[in-house]
């Protein structure tokens, strides 16, 4: 019964874009992508307690790799997708293995350096990354002779969201999810219970980074352009803020936070122009000081 309700919900999400105009469809699918990213980051930050600034960079790495593999190297789509995931996994392992050897916030340090370097590589990458202009004017290759575009492509994004949520949900409700929460709440106790703390962190980081990379591959064909400003470092903070404001450690919190902070600039722009980050920053400080459980915590309190 419950499963039927979930499937029904995703069917509604998938049918909705066919009734939206092209502008609203664009807003709608970008919102779904942010929700997907926030769900993945929530597993790393909210459930496993690891701060990293590379989640959005992996989104960009996924997008750029699939475009470069498809159109610069001329590989077929399935190969490009698999190779793109492999690139994300290898990079995540290279970063996470040294960074998780010590207690402390080394993963945050290393991933901030990685995210910064990613932007530099995009800008300096010459013909491979297209430099500051990025790569544009490409199209998703036909799949079984069928060109997916417009609202139909939004269905792909809904499928991505559903798949990401399914993977995270299953993990969260397995022994692995409990191990992650133990690593977050009390690493010594977790280690005493036989959880390999460093390995758990590495696995979670690699998995969520790969999920972000897959989301990036889907994003690459939303606007059919990838360029450095899209993947700016401010997004790394934004994704963290979404999870904090919504409620870290809860899937529903990540969804609420992502939707709220994604839509807020549309209402704020008459007031503050492009400086909505100012409001986000203040919101996060307020949330941590006054409501550490986020909006979902407020909901819990009032629905009781």
């Amino acid at each position: 019964m419950k499963r039927l309700a979930w499937i029904g919900g995703f069917v509604i999400l998938a049918v909705l874009p066919f009734f939206l105009g092209s502008y609203h469809n664009d807003v709608y699918r970008k919102m779904l992508l942010w929700v997907t990213l926030a769900l993945g980051y929530n597993f790393l930050f909210g459930i496993c307690g690891q701060v990293a600034f590379s989640h959005f960079a992996f989104y960009g790495i996924g997008a750029y790799s699939v475009v470069i593999l498809l159109f610069q190297l001329g590989l077929p789509l399935p190969v490009a997708i698999v190779l793109g995931v492999v690139i994300c996994v290898v990079l995540a392992l290279v970063v996470a293995i040294p960074a998780t050897r010590l207690e402390g916030f080394y993963l945050a340090l290393v991933t901030l350096a990685l995210a910064q370097l990613f932007i530099v590589v995009l800008n300096e990458g010459g013909n491979v990354t297209g430099g500051t202009g990025g790569i544009a004017n490409y199209r998703l290759p036909p799949i079984f002779g069928w060109r997916i575009a417009g609202p139909a492509y939004t269905v792909v994004i809904v499928a991505l969201l559903a798949g990401t949520l399914a993977v995270l949900w299953r993990l969260d409700h397995s022994w692995f999810g409990r191990a992650c929460r133990a690593v977050r709440d009390n690493p010594e106790a977790a280690a005493a219970m036989g959880v390999d703390v460093a390995r758990t962190k590495v696995i979670v980081f690699t998995l969520t980074s790969a999920l972000a990379g897959i989301a990036g591959m889907v994003y690459a064909f939303v606007d059919n352009t990838v360029n450095p400003p899209i993947f700016g470092l401010e997004n790394a903070f934004l994704i963290l803020f979404m999870v904090i404001v919504g409620g870290a450690g809860r899937h529903a919190g990540a969804v609420i936070g992502a939707i709220l902070l994604f839509l807020l600039p549309f209402w704020l722009s008459p007031l503050v122009g492009h400086h909505h980050q100012l409001v986000f920053g203040a919101l996060v400080v307020a949330a941590i000081l006054l409501q550490p459980k986020g909006l979902i915590g407020l909901w819990d309190r009032f629905s009781r």
């Binding site: 590589v121 400086h275 920053g281 996060v284 400080v285």
Partner: protein, 291 residues
């Protein structure tokens, strides 16, 4: 040879800047365990302070420099009051103030970005533009000024930790918070002082580097990254480690930029490389904490 020595002087100057940023991290991490990513933004704020006092109002350099450092100390103290103290008093986990400081980081950057034009703004050199040559070693006035100020700051910090009661209380808090509190050390005063000192050190770094690179609202993040890399390389245990780590990083960066056949932008990858290598090979940093 001439070229090499010239490069060494400018690398030493950059290393001193990284060392000051690393010192700012260290002053806050030692007593509180809090890693404050906003130090880069503090350096950025100080370079805008340099623009206001020195370029706009044309104050004499020593007065302008004192004003910037005073403002930064105030900024650090206020940050601690707003984003750290309430959480520490509530007994929140260590992650909470770190996240709150990330919020402060974004707010700080946006306030500067709203208040100033988006183009880089000039900050004057204290002694104008010119060269000093001591035997075979030559470099710009600014390089030698940076090195002199940094050495003075590190000497002062060393004196503070080794010779003053205040410095001893810092060490006591970093060794054992509870025991220090029981010995009558005021924990919140030590925390406030560490943030004020951290902002002062980061501010000095920003002011010293700004004549070379101009004040810009996005200059903070690279400095923050180079600073914590210097800290990881040198080790959190010792104050000299911050300077040593900064120098090593700067030499690697500048020699790679000069001699390696890669686009100069890619030298921004050196901090990441250093972080990964040192975390794998020497995770406690080059200098061990003294027993």
């Amino acid at each position: 040879m001439q070229d090499l020595l010239e490069l060494a002087v400018s690398a030493t100057a950059s290393g001193c800047i990284y060392g000051l940023i690393a010192l700012a991290y260290l002053l806050m991490i030692r007593p509180t365990g809090i890693i404050n990513f906003a130090v880069g933004e503090w350096a950025m704020v100080a370079s805008f302070g340099g623009f206001i006092f020195l370029t706009k109002y044309e104050w004499p350099y020593p007065l302008g420099m004192a004003a910037v450092v005073a403002v930064m100390i105030l900024v650090g103290w206020a940050t601690e009051r707003i984003a750290v103290r309430p959480l520490v008093e509530k007994g929140a986990p260590l992650l909470a103030p770190i996240l709150a400081l990330l919020g402060v980081l974004v707010v700080t950057r946006e306030i500067i970005s709203v208040s100033f034009p988006p183009d880089p703004l000039p900050v004057p050199f204290p002694f104008g533009i010119g060269r000093i040559e001591i035997g075979p070693i030559g470099g710009s006035y600014q390089s030698f000024f940076i090195i002199a100020v940094t050495l003075a700051v590190f000497a002062g910090t060393w004196f503070f930790f080794e010779k003053t009661l205040w410095g001893k209380s810092f060490e006591a808090v970093s060794l054992n918070r509870r025991a220090a509190a029981l010995m009558g050390i005021n924990l919140s005063r030590v925390t406030a002082l560490s943030f004020a000192g951290g902002a002062g050190a980061a501010g000095l770094a920003g002011l010293l580097v700004s004549p070379n690179i101009s004040a810009h609202y996005l200059m903070g993040v690279p400095l923050a990254i180079q600073g914590f890399t210097a800290l990881v390389v040198g080790g959190v245990g010792r104050v000299e480690g911050a300077l040593l780590g900064g120098l090593l990083l700067a030499f690697a960066e500048q020699f790679i930029a000069r001699y390696a056949p890669i686009p100069s932008g890619y030298t921004q990858g050196v901090p990441l490389l250093f972080l990964m290598v040192f975390l794998l090979v020497r995770p406690t940093g080059l200098l061990r904490a003294r027993a």
